[in-house]
Amino acid sequence: MRFASIVLGLSLTVAAPLSAHHSFAAEFDASKPVTLQGIVTKVEWRNPHIWVYFDVKNPDGSVTAWQCEGGAPNALTRQGWSKGTLESGGPLTVEGYLAKDGSKTCNARSWKVGDRTVLAGSSNEAAAPASR
């Protein structure tokens, strides 16, 4: 059984800077990067960007429900992902930024399923940034 882990303050090594999200500055804290591992419970494949809901198992055995906002559906399709890539019940690793309001919410910059990683989106890439 995979152990969930939350790593605060992890410095991400993605070279290309991400564009600011439409409400990123208002909703998310750029100084609080986070890595989350959990089990997918729901995927909303919606415009302008997807939302993924997942359960993170904490070291003490409790479970916390998280939601993270990701890239644009079309951009994900072009990277070879589909609605079904993030399947309910499947494992997921998310790197992102925490919401300012203290809720278990993040803005994802990358998703990893098994050995497949897709960036949530960046203005420097073919993928759309999280704002669109």
Binding site: E27, N47, T117, S123, S131
Partner: protein, 251 residues
């Protein structure tokens, strides 16, 4: 597919066209440069960056600073207007014909038909989000003249604004096989005391890219689930002056 493919960084916002990469420009049977193709876009959030501070009129400065309390119209699926339609992270397709150039934009499922047959602006069109555009060729450069825009669109994610007096002149020039130069001159006497011009290089999309659907108003979580926020999309703030306060830095 494992890792996402690496993409070159986008060109920054510039004040003039850079040097082409030397690959050959496709031509039409008539010998004109051919802009046709599916073009990728990298978003340029602040299209005024190389020419800041902008030469604001008092009304222009007020409009710029009002952004702090306004929701970006594209967040409500309002078409992006001109030139912002050419500045979004979704691809677009150009279909160049002898008497017109058709732009098919994935973002918001949008399009422009730019006639190059010497017709003038329309006398009976009401102001619109995308305006009244006509085109002409200056050698291998497509020049598009757009007037009759409403003031309901913004110029970019930074919240640069325009009035209903905006007159946009765009110049499209295919630099090489895979580079398209785009520049726009903003001539808006209500908001700016003189015109200003910036541009960027748009790369050709991967050869297998097709234009997909983007139905902004359908299944839109931001619109329906209360995620709309006032302020610029790039997170910049306003303090009443001609330069925005920067967005918080990211690690």
């Amino acid at each position: 597919m494992g890792q996402v493919g690496a993409q070159p960084p986008p060109s920054p916002v510039l004040t003039q066209m850079p040097k082409p990469n030397g690959t050959p420009v496709p031509r039409t049977p008539e010998g004109r440069a051919n802009l046709s193709g599916v073009w990728n876009k990298a978003i340029h959030q602040n299209t005024s960056k190389p020419v800041e501070p902008l030469p604001f009129t008092p009304a222009g400065l007020k409009a710029f600073n009002d952004v702090a309390r306004l929701v970006d119209p594209t967040s409500r699926c309002i078409l992006p207007g001109v030139p912002r339609v050419n500045n979004s992270p979704y691809p677009f397709q150009i279909v160049q014909l002898p008497d017109k150039v058709i732009f098919v934009y994935e973002y918001m499922h949008n399009f422009r038909v730019i006639y190059t047959d010497a017709r003038g602006h329309r006398a009976n069109w009401e102001p619109s989000l995308m305006g009244d555009s006509i085109g002409r060729w200056e050698g291998d450069t497509l020049v598009i003249d757009t007037v009759n825009l409403t003031d309901r669109t913004w110029l970019d994610d930074h919240g640069n604004r325009h009035s209903d007096a905006l007159h946009v002149t765009e110049r499209w020039h295919r630099m090489s096989a895979d580079e398209l130069w785009y520049e726009a001159t903003i001539d808006d006497p209500k908001f700016y005391t003189r015109p200003w011009t910036t541009g960027w290089v748009i790369p050709l999309a991967p050869s297998d890219w097709e234009i997909m659907e983007y139905a902004c108003t359908d299944n839109n979580k931001d619109l329906y689930d209360g995620h709309l926020q006032p302020g610029s999309l790039d997170g910049s703030g306003r303090d009443g002056t001609a330069i925005a306060t920067p967005a918080p830095p990211r690690l």
